[in-house]
Amino acid sequence: MADSPEAIKKATRLYLLIGAVLFGGTVLTVLVATVPSLDFGKHGFDTADLLIGLLIATVKATLVAAIFMHLNHEKRLIYWLFGLGIGAAICLLFLTGLAIWDPIHYNGFPTGVPGSEPVRHFK
C-alpha cells in the first residue's frame, strides 16, 4: 500500500489520525486513573481500572503495530517471524502465570524466618 508516492501521500492523513488517536487514548487513560470522580469500579485503583488501562494500551499498541509498523499489509513471512516471538512470549507469560496460580494448591513463598508459616499472598 504505502510504497508508491501517491499511496504514501494518501497515507499522510491516516498517520496523523492515528497519532491523534494515540494522544487521545493516553489522555483518557490518565483521566480514568487520576480523577476520582471518573473512577470506575471501586473508589481508587481496582480491577476495573486495570482492565481499562490495559485495554486502552492494547488498542494503542495494536494501532502502532498495524499502521505505523505496517503490519496491516506486511509479507506473510514477517507474520511468521514476529508471530513466533509473540507465541514464545505468551508461553513464557502464561506458563509462569500457571506456576503461580496452580489451580490445586499453592503454599506461597516461605518467609524465611525460622519457625514462621509460609505467607499466602494470592487471595
Binding site: 487513560t29 509462569t96 518467609t111 505467607v119
Partner: protein, 574 residues
C-alpha cells in the same frame, strides 16, 4: 563479491535482508521485555508488602508519552519524505524525532534524580517514613532548633562530600585490617578522619615478616635515617603509623610469604602421602588421612600475617555506612574484613524533612495477624514508634484521621469506601495541608473524593516539593515549616534506602524496565541521528537504500514507543 538483496527485495520472500533481520530482532526484543513483564507480574502478585500504586509523578510520564508518540509520527513522515525524495523534509522530521528522544531522556533523568535523592525508611514496626536526610555536622557544632546549618558547619569525608545523617558511629580503639582484602578507599577515609581529629593509628605490636629488626615508620612511610626504607623493610615496629604505603608493603610481604609457604607445604604434603602409601600399601586414603601430616618444623616457612592490628589513640568515632558494617555493642566488622573493637555510639538516622508517612505495610502486617480489624490497625498505628515519639507527626496523624472521617462520610453517599492509600498514607501535599491548617479547619472539597491537600506548583510536578518555599510556610502555632524533623534511633530502623532499586521490588522493576527502555531510546536516537547526519552519502548513491534503512530504524523506534505504551500505565498509573 556482494551480498544480494540489500536494496531490492528477493522475489519469493518479497523482502530485503535488513527487513527480515529487524523483525527477527524485534521478536527477540518481545522476548526480552516479555521476560521483564513476566517478572513484573510475578513480583506484583507475589509482593508481601503493599504494592505502591500510582506512586510516580504522572505529568512527566504523560509528557514523555506524548513526546514518544509524536516522534513515532515524525519518524514515519521522515521515511515518507525519503520515499518522495524530499531530502530537506526528511532532515526536518528526523531532527524532530531525535530532539524528542533528547527531551524524553532529560525528563527521565530528572525523574531518576529526584528518586535517587529521596530517602525512605521502614521501621521495625513496619511504619514507613519518607523524606530527606540531614547531614552530619562537624564535631562540636550545634545548630539551634529552627535554624539551618551553614555550609562550613558540615563534616566532609576525604572526597570532600557531605556525609548523610545515616551512619553507624563506632568509637574505635582498635582496628585490624585483613591484609589481602582491605578496601583502599575505606582505609584512606579512616586515615583522613583520624588525622582530622588528631588521633594516631599505630601498629599494635611489632610485626616481623622477615629477618630484619623492626623499624619504626611515620605517617609518610619514612623511617629514622640509617634504617631500611619502607620498600625494602620486612619488620615494622610497634607504634609505626598507619599509611597506605605501610599497608601495601605488608600486603606484599604477606602474599610473598603465603605463596612461598603454599609451595613448600604442598610439596611436603605430597611427600608425606607418598611415604604413607609406601608404608601401608593396603590401607585406603580414608584410613590413612588422619595420620598424614606435614611436619612444619622441618619446613623453611615464612611468617604470614593475614591481619594487621592497629590501635587508635585516643579512641575515635568513625562513621560507616550501614551496609558496610556489621555492628555489635563492642565490636564491628566491615565488609572488607576489617575488624573494629571499641564501643558502638548512638547512630540515629536524622531526617531533615519528613515529607510522607505510610502505615499501609504496618496495617498489612497487623491484618496478617488479626484479620480484617480496623480498630486493631488504628490502635497499632497510634502505638507505633513514630506517632508515640514525635508530637508533630502525632498531630498530623490526628488531623488526617479527622479528614478521613469526612472523606468516608462523603464516599458513603456514593456507597464507596476510602482506599488503603486514603486511610494509611499521608503524602507531602497532605502533610503540608495538615501542617498549615488547624484541626478545626480541616475540611474536604465536595465532589472530589480526595483527601485534603495543597495544590502542586508546576515545578513540583517534576522535582517534588519545593522545600525552599514549603519549609517556610507559616504554621498555625506560629512556627515555620511544613515538614517535621525526625531522629530515628538505630534500634528502630528495619530497612532504609533511597527511592532506588533497593527500596522494594516495585522500584527495582521500575528502574530496570524504564532504564532498559531508556537505553533503547538512546540506541534508537543514535541510529536515527546517524541517518540524519551521515545519511546524505547513502541518499545520493541510492535513495532507496537510505529509505530502507530509515524504515528499519523506524520499525525499531515504533517498537520502543510500543513498549512505552505499556510501561506508562503499568508503572505510573496502576
Amino acid at each position: 563479491m556482494e551480498i544480494p538483496y540489500i536494496f531490492t527485495p528477493r522475489k519469493d520472500t518479497g523482502l530485503v535482508n535488513s527487513k527480515i533481520a529487524i523483525w527477527l530482532f524485534l521478536a527477540s526484543e518481545v522476548m526480552l521485555f516479555g521476560g521483564f513483564f513476566s517478572a513484573y507480574i510475578f513480583l506484583r502478585l507475589g509482593a508481601d508488602y503493599p504494592w505502591p500504586e500510582r506512586t510516580l509523578p504522572v505529568l512527566p510520564g504523560l509528557i514523555n508519552t506524548f513526546v514518544l508518540i509524536g516522534s513515532s509520527v515524525t519518524v514515519i513522515f521522515a521515511w515518507m519524505s525519503l520515499k518522495l525524495r524530499k531530502w530537506h523534509q526528511f532532515q526536518f522530521f528526523m531532527a524532530i524525532t531525535v530532539v524528542c528522544a533528547g527531551v524524553f531522556m532529560v525528563l527521565k533523568g530528572i525523574e531518576y534524580n529526584v528518586k535517587f535523592h529521596h530517602q525512605a525508611l521502614r521501621l521495625k514496626d513496619y511504619a514507613v517514613v519518607e523524606g530527606h536526610l540531614g547531614y552530619e555536622l562537624k564535631d562540636g557544632v550545634h545548630v539551634a532548633h529552627g535554624e539551618e546549618p551553614k555550609d562550613e558547619d558540615f563534616a566532609l569525608n576525604h572526597h570532600g562530600k557531605k556525609i548523610e545523617e545515616n551512619m553507624i558511629n563506632f568509637e574505635t580503639s582498635e582496628l585490624s585490617f585483613n591484609t589481602v582484602r582491605y578496601h583502599h578507599d575505606w582505609v584512606e577515609e579512616i586515615i583522613a578522619h583520624a588525622a582530622e581529629r588528631n588521633a594516631a593509628i599505630t601498629l599494635k605490636e611489632d610485626l616481623k615478616l622477615g629477618k630484619e629488626a623492626p623499624v619504626l615508620f611515620d605517617k609518610d612511610g619514612n623511617a629514622a635515617p640509617g634504617s631500611k626504607p619502607l620498600a625494602m623493610a620486612d619488620g615494622f615496629a610497634k607504634g609505626s603509623v598507619l599509611s597506605m604505603k605501610l599497608l601495601e608493603r605488608i600486603t606484599e610481604l604477606h602474599l610473598e610469604a603465603r605463596s612461598h609457604n603454599a609451595e613448600l607445604r604442598t610439596d611436603a604434603f605430597r611427600e608425606e602421602w607418598k611415604k604413607a602409601h609406601a608404608q601401608y600399601p593396603g590401607k585406603s586414603d580414608r584410613q590413612l588421612a588422619p595420620d598424614v601430616k606435614i611436619d612444619v618444623t622441618k619446613l623453611d616457612l615464612k611468617v604470614e600475617h593475614p591481619s594487621i592490628g592497629f590501635e587508635v589513640q585516643p579512641a575515635t568515632v568513625f562513621h560507616f555506612r550501614p551496609r558496610d558494617i556489621q555492628e555489635g555493642p563492642a565490636s564491628g566488622t566491615l565488609r572488607d574484613g576489617t575488624a573494629l573493637a571499641g564501643k558502638m555510639e548512638e547512630s540515629p538516622m536524622g531526617f531533615h524533612y519528613v515529607d510522607a508517612l505510610d502505615f499501609r505495610h504496618l496495617a498489612m502486617k497487623v491484618e496478617e495477624k488479626v484479620g480484617d480489624n480496623p480498630e486493631a490497625v488504628e490502635k497499632a498505628i497510634e502505638e507505633s514508634w513514630l506517632i508515640k515519639s514525635n508530637h508533630e507527626l502525632k498531630e498530623i496523624w490526628e488531623k488526617q484521621q479527622k479528614a478521613l472521617g469526612l472523606l468516608t462520610a462523603e464516599l458513603a453517599k456514593k456507597d464507596r469506601v476510602p482506599t488503603e492509600k486514603d486511610k494509611y498514607r499521608v503524602n507531602w501535599q497532605e502533610m503540608v495541608y495538615y501542617a498549615t491548617t488547624r484541626l478545626e479547619d480541616i475540611k474536604i472539597e465536595a465532589g472530589k473524593y480526595q483527601m485534603p491537600h495543597v495544590k502542586m506548583e508546576l515545578d513540583e510536578e517534576f522535582f517534588g516539593p519545593n522545600y525552599a518555599v514549603r519549609a517556610k510556610a507559616q504554621r498555625p502555632d506560629g512556627h515555620l515549616g511544613s515538614f517535621p524533623h525526625l531522629s530515628v534511633p538505630r534500634a528502630e530502623v528495619q530497612f532504609a534506602s533511597k527511592f532506588a532499586p533497593a527500596w522494594n521490588t516495585y522500584y527495582a522493576i521500575y528502574f530496570t524496565m524504564t532504564g532498559l527502555h531508556g537505553l533503547h531510546v538512546i540506541g534508537g536516537a543514535l541510529v536515527l541521528g546517524y541517518y540524519l547526519f551521515c545519511g546524505k552519502k547513502m541518499y545520493l548513491s541510492n535513495p532507496e537504500w537510505l529509505a530502507n534503512r530509515v524504515e528499519v530504524g523506524g520499525l525499531f523506534w515504533h517498537f520502543v514507543d510500543l513498549v512505552w505504551i505499556f510501561l506508562f500505565p503499568i508503572l505510573y498509573l496502576m
